[in-house]
Symmetry: C3
């Protein structure tokens, strides 16, 4: 029986194939462990908006019999201070470390969403918020997306690729950058990149010049600055925007149109289209692609329940051990 101490990146997973298998079994029978979390409490702390993560985490926790506390931290509780040693004579009312210590008293698992704030590269790269949870939490911490990673999404993505691939050869998986109107973090791109390196896939990243992801995540993965070239014969196309990492949070001009269209999809190997949602239709990808039969995007969304449930279940193994 696998156990997990925390879940903030792929490195918290001992055996990726095992947890994907487990998540797929849970999908077959989501109510097989309804007593496992009995009498235990998970706190879902949102510092940012959420639809899928919020609902899928609640369902996953309920399927395991956990009590669920959902907290919209900024709106329902207090404006948080993040700086160590701060003299709190300004707008902030409670220090994040005090909030975490209180959550320690109330919860058996703390799950937190803390997006990149996109103001300081250093803060975001160092996970200035999640790191405080990792440092101060005395119970297992689950990331519901942090500044640099979105591991529950990546696990659901890995499940979805596994479900959709029956051939003997490795599939070609392309992560392709997409246009957007605002600077968006690299978290989903980083995280998917990290997980694909652990999967049996041929993985390629396509993005415009100026948009290369952090080398810490891409390592020796091939990065192509020409979308057409990258898409050729792709079996899976993961569409996602991110802003510049080098010139942090900037949006250098892109001359070509990187929106994924039906036309472009034709050059792939009847490729399945993925996106983590929410998606800006007709900006990141066309209606035609979104609503077309190659999209497995809603299946990804559904798998968010089972990826969360697999993780919570392994953490409960650890707690109950």
């Amino acid at each position: 029986m696998h156990q997990m101490k925390k879940f903030t990146s792929v490195s918290d997973v001992k055996n990726l194939q095992e947890i994907i298998k487990k998540a797929l079994q849970i999908k077959e029978n989501p109510h097989s462990e309804t007593q496992k979390g009995k009498g235990k409490t998970i706190g879902l702390v949102f510092l940012n908006s959420s639809l899928r993560t919020r609902l899928s985490s609640q369902i996953a926790a309920q399927n395991l019999g956990l009590n669920v506390l959902t907290l919209n931290a900024a709106q329902e509780a207090w404006n948080l201070e993040f700086a160590d040693g701060a003299i709190m004579n300004g707008d902030t009312v409670e220090h994040i470390k005090d909030a975490i210590e209180v959550l320690n008293q109330y919860c058996d698992i703390i799950a937190v969403r803390c997006f990149a704030r996109m103001k300081s590269k250093e803060d975001d790269v160092n996970e200035s918020i999640l790191s405080q949870f990792e440092q101060h939490a005395k119970v297992p911490v689950v990331s519901l997306e942090s500044a640099t990673r979105h591991p529950l999404q990546s696990l659901a993505d890995s499940m979805t690729i596994t479900e959709n691939w029956r051939e003997d050869r490795k599939p070609k998986v392309v992560l392709t950058w997409a246009p957007h109107i605002k600077p968006i973090s690299q978290a989903v791109g980083n995280s998917f990149t990290e997980w694909m390196q652990e999967m049996e896939v041929d993985f390629v990243i396509a993005n415009p010049e100026g948009y290369d992801l952090d080398k810490k995540f891409t390592k020796d993965i091939k990065v192509i600055h020409n979308q057409d070239e990258a898409l050729k014969d792709a079996d899976f196309i993961y569409v996602k925007n991110w802003s510049s990492f080098d010139e942090y949070a900037a949006m250098p001009e892109v001359k070509e149109n990187w929106m994924l269209t039906g036309e472009k999809l034709k050059t792939t190997n009847n490729g399945k289209v993925m996106h983590c949602l929410p998606v800006r239709r007709n900006v990141e990808l066309s209606d035609e692609v979104m609503d077309g039969e190659n999209s497995i995007i809603y299946q990804q969304a559904k798998n968010r329940i089972f990826s969360a449930q697999a993780v919570f279940s392994e953490i409960l193994n650890e707690i109950n051990a």
Copy 2:
């Protein structure tokens, strides 16, 4: 055993007397079906504020053993796009149809509150939001009030009239317009009108000139522009404001005072006073009426639990069939 595929208007009810009877039985014994919704999930999606609907729907769902997910869509999730084919390069982050498709993956029943936006008559008349739920939802949809109707309210209203009428003759029921300070939708008025036509009552509508409801709802119901005349000998008086339908969302000047007062109540047949709440005291009706013994307004509010529970129960009959 009755089944229901969806609940967005009176036309989704096969037998009105049967469902009123069922709701009254549930009121006697609200915990008789605590296992019926076991392992199933209802999503309560609020695009607008709610007190009674929010709480009564949660209680009803819990009484049936359903898991409840409550989502304040705008504040907790993402700003939604409603236009088909939109190029989403503005403020909207997620298309309503993608949100609905995700809810399809997560919920066994989707309940949604989507008020009239009062900006375009065409949009509101065509139920521009609810219709997207009806079109894209793959699970039963329940209206928690939409642009033109509030059927869970009307079912509770019908229950309340039934509970309060013991005589052999048909009661005289008057829906009377009341003053307000802002343009309010016609949903409650329309819906009550629609339901009263299915009930064994003598139904009359009183409103100032310029405030006639949509003919689609009023059909051949008598509309009187003189409140005193309408109130005479009324057994039930339903007080409700709405803005102009013809000159959409306008508030044509009204010379007479249409606020329901104790004085006016004396001209009725010791009539019971109804309102869906929230009510603007001393604008729509006087404190004296609100707090007087003829008010059955809080009883209406209580019946919201049982009207919701009856509907959810019939929908679960359909799902479990």
Copy 3:
């Protein structure tokens, strides 16, 4: 078996030692009464922000098997009117008394947070909001902090002192004012003062001139305007800011530095430091004190679960009687 009709101040507690004992027993075994609240509903109504109170009340209620409805009144429902007899032709949409009457229909227990609004001394002193709940609620009312008191906090504080005192003599307990940047209500200070008078402790209050609490609460308790003198040999130091009561909500200038520091702590009898949280670090007390081994602040926070659970349990005794 003790019963409780409501819980808004220490005077609702028949036997303080008994309820502290009960709360400590619940802490040993929080899941000993999981069926007690079965089929019953508690409404947690928040007119103000909350972290600890929100989460601890939810956990306490869930431990007792209660259904929990949490309502952020202003954001999720309607803007409330508080004035009796108001002509509601302004910003307010629903009168508090109507909201309460509806909660009466939906809940077996109503718990409410209604801070001092700090605009009118008279309104706050008279508990203009809580008093409406006490007047109109037909089910037991629990204060989650009102204009002048925070009794669930004070019960948790009393538990915490009990847990941390093993000597035969009475401990010296000092409530010491602390600096802040905004006018804060006297509720926590008042309430702690009220409870300490019922405990076997030597109780002293220290605050700057101009900051004396309402005589109604302090009665003949010693109030010292010199912090150093008050702290001497203290066994427990409760740190808390409040604004002026006499010159209501003002913040008269304070020349000395009242922030609790490690240096000041040395003059106590190895005193335990308490605070209700949220705390402004390095304004009310120093990081050194907050993170030091004398702090029992997180233990106080944890005890909030058990103080709430003891109260809800006694109220359920009353309801089930």
